[in-house]
């Protein structure tokens, strides 16, 4: 390939200490369908974006590992874990929010908001999710750091892999994989804490008393973490993840991406100290951007789906530009529109407000507001009434009509509630239950169990209902809080007699 030739020529001409022999092994040209994966040895880089990635990694890992340990007092009888998916109790707890299974639409809303949020971030700043926040990126980054800590930086790792097996090599390899598996096990271990009381579960796991499924899930997630972050790495982004393909539809030429400023950089070539910069580009072809890339690509090849926009090449290039005394930003966040405009000598344009971004922002706002309104107006008391299907109605000995209903009173508060159930819509309708008679004013007194569904059979009798199908309402009133909730139902009668 031409790069290789250039590389050798340059080395012969100028043994520049900042140049590095790095090949973009995962670039489109280097890839083949049945080729074995060529290992990538990302070099450590330093700079603003590396610092940002450190920060993001620490914050995100802390959120993941520590969240299950946050306590939140909900009173007696309720779990005191701030974030808990309680499958057995069929509840989802998130700090002050408690959701029932039938309120799973809040989760749906959250997922829609997350999806539209990632669309919006893609349209504005390209793949910031991939570069900083995706678990695959975060854990791979962590694994590469462990690898670097044990085996040394790029060159040392390449030497080690080429070296014949020795005690030292074996020790390093074993230590690395051991640490990887420990991290993987901690990752899988932290996951299960979201589904049970963390301190209890921790004790059970270490005393061997936890359920088989717990160990199974830890094992599965240990395996996936180890495999995805340790051994598969960039292959997950290149081959497994659908997002690189989807995001192409969500972004456009105006989105900010990690870009190589072709107009400024080309023609590239080795540069001797003190030589003139006239008639050539700023790129000295030192290949540092390739050496630091965890995805094994060359950013100078332009937009490519392998690029996760982690911006580590920006740091690498800026450091080199500083050394050779040229302005920073040869590789920088910019839009592909501006890269093209620069080629024609046009001034850059910045268009953050575009139909696409407006649409995503509006949808995001609508979903968020709908969720918020839904959450704020969420009732802790609701009522279901299912009419008996067989028999549809019963004619009593006095000629009146009776319908049977299965009434379910859903009390989402952790206290027993004294409620009055009445029927409205038919003037002479009377309500009764198997165990309770109505009070003189025609209401049934119901004690709704705390944080539970109370089911009861209700009978409604009417002598005056003449239509075949009559609309009635069940009215549930709580005298203590003066709250009322209603449920529409049908009262069937045989029609006019």
């Amino acid at each position: 390939m031409t790069h290789k030739t250039t590389l050798i020529d340059r080395r012969d001409a100028d043994p520049d200490p900042i140049s590095i022999d790095a090949e973009a092994v995962n670039s489109k040209a280097a890839r083949a369908l049945y080729k074995k994966r060529t290992p990538i040895y990302p070099k450590i880089s330093g700079g603003a974006f590396r610092t940002l990635k450190w920060g993001a990694m620490i914050v995100l890992l802390a959120i993941y590992y520590l969240t299950p340990w946050i306590r939140w007092d909900r009173g007696a009888g309720a779990p005191n874990q701030a974030v808990l998916v309680d499958f057995e109790g069929r509840r989802f707890y998130f700090f002050f929010i408690e959701l029932w299974p039938q309120e799973v639409y809040f989760i749906t809303g959250l997922l829609i908001a997350a999806a539209v949020g990632i669309f919006l971030s893609s349209a504005l700043f390209g793949r910031v999710w991939c570069g900083y926040a995706c678990p695959q990126t975060v854990w791979t980054d962590l694994y590469i750091h462990v690898e670097r800590w044990i085996e040394g930086d790029r060159n040392a790792r390449m030497r080690l892999d080429k070296a014949p097996l020795s005690m030292d090599k074996a020790r390093k390899k074993v230590t690395k994989h051991f640490l990887w598996i420990v991290i993987a096990a901690l990752t899988g271990g932290a996951w299960v804490f979201y589904f049970g009381d963390a301190p209890t579960l921790m004790r059970e796991i270490f005393t061997g008393q936890a359920a088989v499924t717990i160990y199974l899930f830890i094992a599965i997630l240990t395996f996936t973490t180890y495999a995805l972050a340790g051994t598969m790495r960039e292959q997950v982004c290149t081959y497994l993840c659908p997002w690189p393909r989807i995001q192409a539809a969500m972004t456009d030429k105006h989105a900010f991406n990690v870009t190589y400023k072709v107009a400024r950089g080309e023609p590239r070539g080795a540069h001797k100290k003190g030589a003139s910069w006239d008639g050539r580009g700023d790129c000295i072809d030192c290949r540092q951007c390739v050496a630091v890339c965890p995805q094994g690509i060359d950013i100078r090849d332009g937009d490519q789906l392998e690029c996760i926009n982690c911006a580590l090449c920006i740091d690498a290039c800026d450091a080199v530009m500083e050394k050779v005394g040229r302005p920073k930003g040869l590789i920088a966040y910019d839009s592909y529109e501006n890269v093209d405009r620069a080629k024609c000598g046009e001034a850059p344009v910045y268009r953050f407000v575009r139909p696409r971004t407006i649409l995503y922002a509006v949808v995001l706002a609508i979903v968020s507001v709908a969720m918020l309104v839904g959450l704020m107006n969420r009732t802790t008391l609701s009522l279901d009434a299912m009419r008996d299907r067989s028999p549809p109605f019963v004619r009593l000995s006095d000629g009146s009509i009776r319908n049977g209903y299965m009434v379910r009173i859903i009390n989402k508060e952790p206290r027993e509630r004294m409620l009055e159930l009445q029927v409205a819509g038919l003037p002479d309708a009377r309500i009764s239950a198997m165990a309770t008679n109505a009070t003189p004013d025609g209401a049934l007194v119901v004690h709704a169990r705390p944080d539970d569904v109370t089911s009861m059979r209700i009978y409604v009798v009417s002598a005056e209902a003449t239509a075949q199908s009559n609309d009635i309402r069940f009215v549930l009133h709580e005298p203590e809080t003066r709250t009322t909730t209603e449920r529409h139902a049908i009262f069937m009668a045989g029609g006019p007699r």
Binding site: V394, R395, L396, G399, G404, A435, A438
Partner: protein, 312 residues
């Protein structure tokens, strides 16, 4: 896999060939993706291990059981046992509780209803219909008419001993077949029919003939009054239905009433004591009681609210 040196490389695709050639067309040796191949090998290994561990191969009279001794049948039996053990405390409570306690405890009543529902669907719905809707000859259990009493105790007793069953203490009543056995003339039967219709709220619909009804009244006083009572209110001691309402076991039209006087039909309900567990009968009683609200002791279905119109 063959090496390119062996059979040559196809010049258009750059892929090695297998060396097979038909009419000048050579077959490309496209290798399987590695991951696919490894998973394929892994599944073969898994299958071999599975044959050893789990039931796998059918034999002439049985099958290879596998060394883990896995059996779905045994698992189901064990799960059923666990389920029964889990339900036992509730069933014990149900058996020990008095009728009043059951009705007053919504949770216990709900458990019994749920347990009784399945039993009802399996054993009773065939005749009484889903939800106890009833059918001609099979009384509705969802209304407020109880031939043998509608309290929990009455219902449970009826369930245990049955009606006209083989049980020693069976609920028993026989209505004579006045027509078939020649106990009444055809004309008398017609007259009694008219009278019975006058007693019932069906009179508005059937419009009995007054003269015939007057003749029938005298016959009624001789033949029917001992069971159905002077006013036709019926008597639960004999399971004699009330003739004053418009709820009929064999239909309330003139022809249907007449036919019942002629044939004196009476259905049979088996005694469930010998077939079902006492706790299950108790649960079934609560379910049947709950279908229409049963009768509280003393008989009162709903205490009418003052504002509501009085029951005629």
């Amino acid at each position: 896999m063959t090496t390119p040196e062996k059979h040559g490389v196809d010049e258009f695709t750059g892929t090695s060939t297998t060396g097979h050639e038909w009419d000048g067309i050579r077959e490309l040796d496209t290798p399987l993706p590695r991951w696919w191949l490894y998973i394929f090998y892994a599944t073969i290994v898994v299958a071999a291990v599975y044959w050893v561990l789990m039931p796998a191969w059918p034999m002439l009279n049985s099958y290879t059981p596998g060394i883990l001794g896995f059996s779905d049948r045994a698992n189901v039996a064990a799960e059923l046992q666990t389920l029964q053990a889990a339900r036992k405390p509730s069933f014990d409570r149900l058996t020990a509780a008095s009728y009043d306690e059951i009705v007053a405890d919504p949770q216990l009543a709900e458990f019994a209803r749920a347990a009784g529902e399945t039993t009802f669907a399996d054993n009773c719905a065939t005749c009484h219909g889903a939800g106890g809707a009833g059918a001609p000859g099979y009384p509705s259990l969802a209304d407020d008419v109880w031939l043998w009493g509608g309290t929990l105790g009455d219902i449970e007793h009826t369930l245990r001993v049955g009606i006209r069953s083989t049980h020693d203490d069976t609920r028993l009543s026989i209505m004579p077949a006045y027509g078939r056995d020649g106990l009444m003339s055809t004309r008398d039967i017609g007259d009694v029919t008219e009278y019975v219709l006058t007693l019932s709220t069906a009179r508005d619909r059937e419009k009995p003939v007054p003269a015939a009804a007057a003749r029938g009244a005298a016959i009624y006083q001789q033949q029917c009054v001992s069971c159905h009572g002077a006013t036709g209110a019926g008597d639960r001691a004999f399971g004699a239905p009330s003739l004053t309402d418009d709820v009929w076991l064999y239909g309330g039209s003139r022809a249907e009433v007449r036919r019942q006087i002629e044939l004196g039909r009476g259905g049979v309900m088996p005694a469930w004591e010998t077939r079902l567990d006492p706790a299950v009968i108790r649960a079934l009683s609560v379910y049947v009681y709950g279908l229409g609200g049963g009768e509280k002791e003393p008989v009162a279905i709903i205490e009418p609210a003052p504002a509501a119109p009085a029951i005629p």
